[in-house]
């Protein structure tokens, strides 16, 4: 259906996604410092974890006063979708050994969206690597810049940075809210979390929402494979909306 895309075009698109994601990295850096993490801790999160939603969740739980361990578990639960992306991409990318081990760190929403639709292994690899590397470099540079700027700003509440955290989560959630089952899942999770805030230690209300996902997963089971692969229009930093 689609004509073979030239490598130049694929690389250019990958860099464009990287630049857009960079803007989103600035907000992560600033929000992480506002949550009480140091600049170094913020930068290590971006280098080592390198999955936006998990990093936002980690600092969000820390900001709410949750235990570091619940921050880690929440972040890791959000990172499980990368495993599913990998299952889908593995036969297409066809890497083994050290190449596969190195490529794994770049396996995120953006690199998946820019490679899963390619027709050949070569095009998929170019899309995966150009997007993954562009996002990796710009995400980390932007994190550092945002963290330094956030620290220079002083009390985050003066600038409404604490309100920015909720908005960041909502913006990550937004593209998934078109689906009715997802809407119900979100609604039940909000209700459960707000009730648990009153009775459970910080960190638990968010983690408990995974139980809603579990229950809804069994309640709305379908026979076909329903894995939602990320689309370029869904990328949080994509900004390619018309």
């Amino acid at each position: 259906m689609t004509a073979p895309t030239s490598h130049r075009t694929i690389i250019r698109d990958g860099i464009a996604v990287g630049v857009a994601t960079g803007a989103y990295g600035i907000s992560f850096g600033a929000i992480s410092v506002a949550a009480g993490l140091s600049v170094l801790q913020t930068c290590v999160l971006s280098l080592a974890v390198f999955t936006g939603a998990s990093q936002f969740a980690f600092v969000g739980v820390v900001a709410a006063g949750g235990a570091p361990l619940s921050a880690a578990v929440t972040g890791l639960l959000l990172a499980t979708r990368n495993t599913l992306y990998g299952l889908r991409l593995a036969p297409l990318l066809g890497w083994t050994g050290w190449r596969r081990a190195a490529a794994a760190q770049l396996l995120i929403d953006e690199s998946t969206a820019m490679s899963v639709t390619r027709e050949s292994t070569e095009e998929a690899r170019v899309g995966f690597l150009s997007t993954g590397l562009a996002v990796f470099v710009l995400w980390n540079v932007a994190t550092f810049g945002g963290a330094v700027a956030g620290e220079a700003l002083g009390d985050p509440r003066t600038y409404g940075l604490d309100a920015a955290v909720g908005a960041a989560f909502l913006a990550l959630l937004w593209p998934r809210l078109r689906d009715r089952d997802n809407q119900l899942t979100a609604l039940l999770s909000v209700a459960l979390a707000l009730v648990l805030v009153l009775v459970a230690p910080a960190g638990v209300p968010v983690l408990a929402a995974a139980l809603v996902a579990l229950a809804m997963g069994f309640a709305t089971r379908r026979d076909e494979d329903t894995t939602e692969m990320p689309d370029r229009d869904d990328l949080p930093g994509g900004g390619e909306h018309e």
């Binding site: 989103y24 979708r81 495993t83 409404g160 995974a210 894995t227």
Partner: protein, 99 residues
């Protein structure tokens, strides 16, 4: 403690990615597994929004952050990019606190 959590999350996130590229697809082929994995981000992000905006310690509150969230919804309905949504929410909360 926070450093231990950061290292744990970093190693765990990498292993989850590597597992996806390494294990045979048939092991996780069950549709319910995929369904739950799709719903987890929805559930966790929704809970994070609620806790982040409407709680203060162990109490529920409605303050400037709620106004920031309302502004974010408005920006998202207008299809604003991520950074604009976040900035508008922050600005709205900051202005309300000034008043």
């Amino acid at each position: 403690m926070i450093w231990a959590a950061i290292v744990l999350t970093g190693i765990g996130a990498y292993l989850l990615k590597l597992a996806g590229l390494s294990i045979p697809a048939s092991i996780l082929e069950h549709p319910v597994v995929h369904r739950i994995a799709d719903l987890i981000p929805v559930a966790l992000l929704a809970a994070l929004v609620a806790v982040q905006v409407f709680s203060e310690g162990q109490a529920l509150t409605v303050d400037a952050r709620a106004a920031g969230l309302a502004a974010a919804v408005f920006a998202l309905l207008l299809r604003a990019p991520f950074i604009v949504v976040v900035l508008i929410a922050a600005l709205t909360a900051a202005i309300i606190r000034l008043i």
